[in-house]
């Protein structure tokens, strides 16, 4: 798999993401700079990592979404390329219009740093096929603005077209209000594009890829990607 992580000023989980990708591919991903205007040829996966691009000032991800390289990311997505946006990266994807909806301030108005459980709603994508449908896995969440919002028509369309990838749930897989700490509409934690090749999610599966650190609950996501692009 040929993967690249884009560096925006203020992002801070690029190293975590690089470690997770290296773990499944055996080599460090390329690091690209936000001012670049083109992506290297032949990329399988572009990752927009977590952090506080531009300090999360104005709106999370808003300024990063206007970076020169985002035109190239949009073109990559339009060509059917895969894009993964985690946390701040998810916010950038919605701000750039690559995914619908928006991430509002957490309902508690507090930064939430804790484990959460996510239920896999679709296991037939390049991001999730090493999971079972309905499987629940644990990941770190660490965000102030992860409260997924879209209008009802959009939410209905997302559900109708099966574009909800992940939902907050209890460890037993029940989708409850208590398990939905940030207040997201319909407990949505992750959303797919219609071609299933762009995924945005708030929690950080890249922090659960090492048995010596915090377990390997997140590893299947990266293994799915590696397997999907094994040829490359």
């Amino acid at each position: 798999m040929k993967a690249a992580i884009i560096l925006f000023p203020g992002i801070n989980r690029e190293r975590d993401m690089a470690l997770a990708l290296a773990r499944v591919t055996g080599r460090k991903p390329q690091m690209l700079w936000h001012r670049d205007t083109a992506l290297p040829a032949g990329l399988d996966l572009v990752v927009l990592p977590g952090g506080f691009s531009y300090g999360d000032y104005l709106r999370c991800g808003a300024m990063a979404a206007q970076s020169p390289i985002m035109q190239a990311v949009k073109a990559h997505a339009a060509r059917g390329g895969h894009v993964l946006g985690v946390c701040n990266g998810f916010q950038m994807l919605t701000e750039a219009g690559l995914l619908p909806g928006a991430l509002l301030r957490n309902a508690s108005l507090r930064f939430l740093s804790m484990d959460c459980q996510m239920k896999v709603e679709r296991a037939d994508t390049a991001f999730t096929n090493r999971f079972q449908r309905g499987q629940v896995f644990r990941a770190t969440m660490a965000h102030g603005d992860g409260n997924y919002f879209a209008d009802d028509a959009t939410l209905d369309r997302l559900e109708g077209e099966g574009l909800v990838a992940l939902r907050y749930a209890t460890p037993q897989g029940e989708v409850t209000a208590a398990a939905n700490r940030n207040g997201s509409a319909r407990s949505i934690a992750g959303v797919l594009s219609p071609n299933l090749r762009v995924l945005g999610l708030m929690p950080h599966p890249e922090n659960q890829v090492d048995p010596l650190i915090d377990g390997t609950d997140g590893l299947p996501l990266f293994e799915s990607l590696a397997e999907n692009f094994a040829a490359a």
Binding site: L58, R59, M63, T94, N106, A107, F149
Partner: protein, 79 residues
């Protein structure tokens, strides 16, 4: 000239901050406070001196960056 871009959550969009402020005001003993909405204001110092052009520029900035029209609406005033 100065342009003021005011950005508010669209009606129908959850405004947790406004809600929390409303609660807190009630908790402080302020009576007769109905709906509270919290938004942003961005004050821009513009070199442009023509009001129509300044307004158009500020609106363009709001559409491109300052507001996210999925969740927010904006208005521009000049000073």
């Amino acid at each position: 000239m100065k342009a003021l871009v005011t950005v508010m959550p669209k009606t129908g969009v959850l405004d947790p901050q406004g809600k929390a402020i409303g609660h807190a005001l009630a908790g402080l003993g302020f009576a007769g406070v109905g709906e509270v909405r919290a938004g942003k204001v961005i004050e821009l110092e513009l070199a442009e001196t023509d009001p129509a052009k300044a307004r158009a520029a500020a609106e363009e900035m709001a559409r491109k960056l300052l507001a996210n029209t999925v969740i927010e609406s904006f208005s521009v005033s000049l000073a």
